[in-house]
């Protein structure tokens, strides 16, 4: 598929990299000459200098042949105009995605406008990220949560602590007691959880369970973590505020810390069941004063990656049970494992996830991408295909991938060799990047 991506920032580059691996032809448009030169050096894509909203540049990028246009520059208006221009040049065949930060562009009647302008998907990185963090906090013990099969299957990321009952046991033993692990990351790279591997302290396990059992399974593996009752959030940014309001609505005690006066005041006006403090997130006195040692979850989401990581470290040191940091730069994500910070949320990764999900619509229902490029994808065979014709053991699955679960009706099956995929199932597969294309082929009629 011919795809045009506008903006070679973190999100743009990441999307291009993934799409190229997936076998698509990508043209990347970037205005900044140095950034463009950098992208040209690193990515196997045609990189054009110029303004992606300009019809001439779009024509040079082959917009008439393109099926998808993704506008992810830093400028909301450029993104919207690029999508409009693309649509008006090549009609309905072209699907368009725009990243938009400004709330006023997707609230209220904006949806009507998007339809009229010909924009298929408007992504707000802030909102997407805030919702993902809230999901994780609602499942105590998990640092991230993904849902598959319309929420019937939950995948929680659990960090193995010294007191975890899973420590030093093999994945086969865990599975026999009903705790199914699909994969784990150790030293920053993801591996598939084969039977004989044993769990070590510091591993991040990706645990599968039906929705109803999720809290029990995840809680057990994490070593009995209580429900996140007290939450402290640093930074009344769009993300922080959205998160605070959503958590407060479900009855949690939320404290929001913001150092800028105007922002703190605005936050207090918009969320009256949240306690808003005006202070620095790394101010030890304030944190202790506000009972940081009794906080179940500490979330740092200011605009500065460094501040967030330092605040989360401080909170952990002062006794917060779990600490999360918002990290935009993907370079820093790899550092998080080496710190006592529990998890990092990257708005850019979440945006990229959402866009990739949209790109693969039809091929893939849901998708989560791990650091390093491994993906957990949900496939739904609607017609008989290679995957439904033989039991799992006889399928020619590529190396480095595994069918983690089959969701049939309300049942979740963790397949062994003899099980077979049926038409209408939701199949969740964990795969390294090089295996993804081959897996998708198995599920095509």
């Amino acid at each position: 598929m011919h795809i045009i991506v506008i903006g070679a920032g973190e999100v743009g580059s990441h999307i291009v990299e993934t799409l190229v691996l997936g076998g698509h032809d990508v043209v990347l448009i970037e205005r900044d000459i140095e950034r463009a030169a950098n992208a040209r050096d690193r990515l196997d894509a045609l990189v054009l200098d110029g303004n992606g909203a300009s019809p001439d540049v779009l024509a040079a990028a082959g917009v008439e042949r393109a099926r998808l246009l993704v506008a992810v520059t830093d400028n909301d208006d450029s993104n919207l105009i690029a999508c409009m221009a693309g649509r008006s040049m090549s009609g309905d065949r072209l699907r368009t995605v725009a990243r938009v930060r400004d709330r006023s562009y997707f609230q209220g009647r904006s949806a009507v406008m998007h339809g009229a302008l010909g924009i298929d998907l408007v992504i707000s990185p802030d909102r997407t990220t805030a919702n993902d963090i809230a999901d994780a906090l609602e499942l105590p013990g998990a640092v991230t949560v993904e849902q598959f099969a319309n929420g019937r299957l939950v995948v929680g990321e659990v960090i193995v602590q010294q007191e975890s009952p899973a420590l030093d046991r093999s994945f086969r033993e865990l599975r026999e007691t009903g705790h199914v692990v699909a994969g784990f990351t150790r030293n920053g790279s993801l591996s598939i959880a084969y039977d004989e591997t044993t769990v070590a302290a510091g591993d991040h396990l990706f645990v599968l369970s039906p929705r109803a059992d999720a809290a029990r399974t995840v809680g057990y593996l994490a070593g009995g973590v209580p429900k996140a009752k007290r939450v402290m959030i640093v930074g009344a940014t769009e993300i922080g505020l959205h998160l605070a309001r959503r958590l407060a609505r479900t009855g949690r005690m939320v404290t929001l810390i913001e150092s800028k006066r105007a922002r703190a005041v605005a936050a207090a006006e918009r969320a009256d069941d949240v306690i808003v403090l005006r202070a620095e997130g790394t101010d030890r006195e304030v944190l202790v004063e506000e009972g940081i040692d009794r906080v179940d979850a500490f979330v740092a989401c200011t605009d500065d990656d460094g501040d967030n990581l330092l605040a989360a470290l401080t909170a952990r040191q002062l006794g917060a049970r779990t600490a999360f940091a918002l990290v935009s730069r993907s370079d820093y994500l790899a550092l998080v494992d080496a710190m006592s910070v529990d998890a990092a949320f990257s708005p850019r990764m979440h945006t990229a996830d959402a866009i990739l999900r949209f790109v693969r619509r039809g091929e893939v229902e849901r998708l989560h991408q791990f650091v390093g490029g491994a993906e957990m994808i949900e496939l739904r065979p609607t017609e008989p295909c290679a995957a439904t014709r033989a039991p799992v053991r006889e399928l020619k699955l590529p190396r480095d991938c595994i069918i983690s679960a089959i969701v049939r009706g309300d049942d979740v099956i963790y397949p062994r060799g003899g099980d077979q995929v049926m038409v209408g199932d939701a199949v969740v597969v964990l795969a390294q990047p090089r295996a993804i294309a081959a897996v998708e082929r198995l599920f095509q009629a």
């Binding site: 190229v20 032809d25 990508v26 043209v27 040209r40 050096d41 196997d44 894509a45 045609l46 090089r434």
Partner: protein, 499 residues
Amino acid sequence: MILDLRQIWTRHPAGLNLGLLVYALAAVGAALGVAMLLVALVGAVRDGQGWYAFAVIGTGVALPAAAILVFARPPNLTPIIRARDVLLTVTSCWLFAALLSALPIRLEGDARSYVAAVFEAMSGFTTTGSTIYDAIEPLPDSVLLWRATTQWLGGIGIIVLLVGIAPALGIGSTRALFAEVSGPLKERYTPRIAQTARALVRIYVVLSVACAGAYMVVGMSAWNAVLHAMTTVSTGGFSPHTASLGQYDAAPQLVAILFMFLGGVNFGLYILLSSRRRPSLGMRYEFHWYCIALVAFSLIVLATLAGFDEQRSWTAALDATFAVVSIVTTTGYVTADFDAWNETARTVVLAIMFVGGCAGSTVGGVKIIRWMMLGVSIRAELRRLMHPSAVVSVRLGDRHFADRDILTLMSFVVAYMLVFVTSALAVAATSSVDLETAISAAAASITLVGPGLGAVGASESYSALSDGSLAILSATMLLGRLEVFTVLALLTPAYWRRR
């Protein structure tokens, strides 16, 4: 058993990616091995002699190379492919190709030494076309075909073939390709670099087939037509005749002129035209100046000959045009012995060796586009002299050049000339030849023309030079083909320093 090439990544003290190197060399070895087997087959069928070494070496190389390719993980999984890994890989691929191809030339072609055979092979892959053989006709058919094959493979470029036919270099492909494709401004024309490589190969094959067909139409035998087509479009210059194209009458010579000309055009131009896209202004200017240069130099040579030659017929015009096209496109075919011309004409011949064709073609030399860039930067310099506070934009058509581009250009020209001078001195020191021979041999090698003047002149061969000189000229050809910097970087201590 899986050989994991990632494992050998850090083995080298300078942290070079040796996994990539092994994989790329295996790909080159497998390709050349298969080519040798085909040559052995053709040789066995045609004249039944001189095919044995090709069969043995071909098998001996293809099998282990194929084993590495099958059992090793592809190198795009290696931790990092850095610019310096690519420099080493590209240079090694070319060196390896020449060293390997020299074996059957030494054994079946009766070359006087292995060094001489390497010279012949390097002259083949770099499409130079200078030869160590005084007489070509006695060579077995297998060696004739092999010489043409090396030129045909080297013409479009070993790396282009690797990337276009097999995705052998993974994520290092773009850099590797750009390290090999000639010219100052590297461009890709498609989203994927492999598509660009495939488009280049496709155009190259089409041109070659058309060229062979044209030769046959004008009366060449099928065998000679194929051999000549392989060395015409690649602007190589090996011929199965000692007299080169002088063996034939006017019609095949005109065909040769046409296809040498086409081989010297920027292949990007063909890609853009065949996908109905408009070439940039700079690219069109380059093409115009390429044509203008060919016509102008032909007229100059004709004018210098006018006083010298009694028969002012159209054969003189044909001879002059053929010589100019052959030299500017750095092919090195010979019809009239330009070494026997008057001193003015011979000086012109030596000078136009350095012109070169378009960037992104199969041609060597400095390249038209670089001379154009030099021209506009000199003009900008002159304007600054006259208006000291002028803000001057150095541009060619719609493309503006940053100071960095100009600096790169100037460094290239200076380095190129330094290599030329050093090579000429080294030849003079290692062989007992006159100054003219030494200088023209170095010039014809770095520019990939082939025949020079004096003892290495149009009707002579390089057999008069010592093995030492041949080794030096082999290195000079490699430097010329990879446009100096790729190879020079490897010769610096900093490259090999542990870091």
